[in-house]
């Protein structure tokens, strides 16, 4: 350490500025010092080294803990992305991510919040674009794990209503959900990716609903166009069960209920039968949503019909 006449102790702010820069330097403390155009002596004036560990080695302990703690968290949070990229590729991704999106939230829970978006700009994501929605899906599972609680409507709740009360009941999606739409069929390869198998999802448009039922986070594909319409409308704003059923009927493909066969769609009997069939299908969707714990009673003012 230089003598007191040659070295002025830094302020607390200066100490923290220097240490933060060196601890978070991508290649470690030594290269971090070199990037500043100084050698180890610059740190040795501030940090006491000894025959066991030099000043640089001592600060490197913190640098390693900074990176590997976060890497461990993200490995656990994005196991499929990690498996797809391999350990080295994932390590490189996180190195770049931490430089571009420095952690700012006090909880480690949030350290991966920006990773899906960042992956979209990173070489790994540009090379394999399906990794981006995969990261979003894995991140959604993490976020919903401890997302907001809600009391879900049950089939029994709804069965207890009379027909008029049923159609007028305002409902909303349980708050702990997210709807993901992307151009890759992730659902069919989810488990294979978890098992570390080398698979590539088919380039097919997919809508996923991810939600927490009780304490378990689940997801499933929403293949049916009419159900998708109901879901996206209800995600925008609450609606009555009656309005949802109407929306389902309106959004169903023309041939969904067998209407239009033999060019006689305008026949009254056939149209009524088709509508009745669609209504049954709409009820089946709602029954599934109730079983899945996706619906809650909407509070507040009378519900409006959802816009399409």
């Amino acid at each position: 350490m230089p003598g007191p006449d040659r070295w002025t102790p830094p302020s607390l702010r200066e100490v923290q500025a220097l240490l933060y820069e060196l601890i978070t330097a991508p290649a470690g403390v030594g290269p971090g010092l070199a990037a500043r155009g100084v050698g180890p002596a610059a740190l040795e004036a501030l940090v006491i080294g000894d025959d066991r560990l030099s000043a640089v080695e001592r600060l490197d302990i913190y640098a390693n803990m900074y990176f590997f703690r976060i890497l461990d968290v993200l490995r656990g949070e994005l196991p499929r992305v990690r498996a797809a990229l391999g350990d080295d590729g994932f390590h490189d991704l996180i190195t770049d991510y931490l430089l571009a999106v420095r952690p700012a939230h006090p909880s480690l829970r949030e350290v991966g919040a920006g990773l899906p978006g960042y992956l979209g700009q990173h070489a790994a994501g540009l090379e394999r674009p399906w990794l981006v929605p995969l990261a979003r899906l894995e991140r959604a599972h993490r976020e919903l794990f401890d997302g907001p609680d809600a009391v879900a409507l049950t089939a029994e709740d709804v069965r207890a209503l009379g027909p008029d009360a049923f159609v007028a009941l305002p409902v909303a999606l349980a708050p702990c959900h997210v709807i993901l739409e992307h151009p890759y069929a992730l659902g069919p390869v989810w488990e294979a990716l978890e098992a570390g198998q080398v698979v590539t999802p088919a380039p097919e448009a997919e809508t996923l609903i991810v939600w927490r039922q009780g304490l378990a986070v689940r997801h499933r594909t929403v293949d049916d166009a009419a159900e998708r319409a109901m879901l996206t409308a209800l995600a925008r704003e609450r609606a009555t069960l009656g309005a949802l059923c109407e929306l389902f009927v309106a959004a169903a493909p023309a041939d969904a209920a067998g209407a239009g066969q033999d060019g006689r769609a305008d026949a009254d009997g056939a149209a009524e039968a088709a509508t009745a069939k669609l209504a049954v299908a709409a009820f089946q969707v709602l029954a599934r949503w109730l079983d899945d714990g996706l619906l809650v009673a909407a509070p507040g003012a009378p519900a409006r019909a959802p816009s399409t």
Binding site: V15, I23, T24, V47, I48, Y66, P106, D146, D149
Partner: protein, 296 residues
């Protein structure tokens, strides 16, 4: 199980950290089954969430046991402003679960609006003391209660430190009224890494200001000890704990384990060992006092 303590913080007995592998066992709501520990400590940030399993477990556990909140993100030594959003969420959680106390660390972990998710060491200077004291005051005012401040394990020292760590901590308690969360393992690790006598640290902390003790395991890296919380408490730390109990009396003690978490029984056995040490120290003290009274 409480026993007299020289601290103004209640002696809750001997507990463990509430960690996911033991959620189910500790949250069992059978009223007839006595919890295997006296109290638990939570990592505050892990429960500052909207809902789901962590909050459900915490509600159940809190109904059965005293809970202390231990944070890692106050960044008391940082030159960044205190994080108001974090403080609000911390206060909200405290209002909900009514913890025995709230604690955090004598360190900094953020700079320039960014966080390192680590406990970085401070230079032990008057400047740092004044800075941390002001922030402890502010936090205590915000939370409406005294804070417990924990010594951290460290791997480096600053050449311009003018105080020993224990001197800074002692002065911090005097200036702010905060208590000390004495991490005996951290004292052991830092003493090894920096070559000071661990007992000097204990002797430098005022009796009556230690509200809680942490015990944990570490890893020997050859050149230094690393505070990993992934091993059982070692004999050297148990010896130092005995010395701490001799100096500070019975203090709420907690076994911290964060990695390679063993079955609950193993942690409970460590908590019971701490209780046994405390009983033995107390018995020795009573025997000495009786001998003195009996002396003609």
């Amino acid at each position: 199980m409480s026993s007299p303590s020289s601290s103004s913080f209640p002696h809750l007995g001997h507990g463990i950290g509430l960690r996911p592998p033991h959620y189910q066992a500790l949250a069992r709501s059978s009223a007839s089954e006595r919890p295997p520990v006296d109290w638990v400590e939570i990592i505050s940030e892990n429960f500052m969430v909207a809902g789901g399993n962590p909050r459900a477990v915490l509600r159940d556990v809190r109904a059965r046991l005293p809970v202390a909140m231990h944070g890692v993100s106050l960044s008391l030594g940082s030159v960044d402003p205190l994080d108001e959003v974090y403080l609000t969420e911390l206060a909200e959680l405290a209002r909900e679960i009514e913890p025995a106390w709230i604690s955090d660390h004598l360190c900094w972990s953020s700079f320039g609006g960014h966080t390192g998710h680590d406990l970085w060491p401070l230079p032990f200077t008057e400047e740092a003391l004044v800075h941390v004291a002001a922030r402890v005051h502010a936090v205590q005012e915000r939370l409406g209660r005294p804070l417990l401040v924990e010594n951290v394990s460290s791997y480096l020292r600053f050449s311009h430190s003018t105080l020993a760590e224990w001197e800074l901590l002692a002065e911090l308690t005097a200036r702010t009224g905060c208590g000390v969360l004495l991490d005996v393992n951290n004292v052991y690790v830092s003493a090894h890494n920096h070559g000071f006598a661990a007992r000097d640290f204990l002797d430098g902390i005022p009796v009556g200001r230690v509200g809680q003790i942490h015990l944990a395991g570490h890893r020997d890296e050859g050149t230094h000890l690393l505070d990993t919380h992934d091993h059982p408490v070692c004999d050297g730390v148990w010896d130092l704990y005995t010395a701490a109990v001799e100096r500070f009396g019975g203090v709420a003690t907690l076994i911290e384990r964060d990695d390679d978490i063993p079955p609950l029984d193993e942690l409970v056995a460590e908590a019971r060992r701490a209780a046994e040490i405390e009983r033995a120290v107390r018995a020795r003290g009573e025997a000495l006092r009786e001998a003195e009274h009996a002396r003609p």
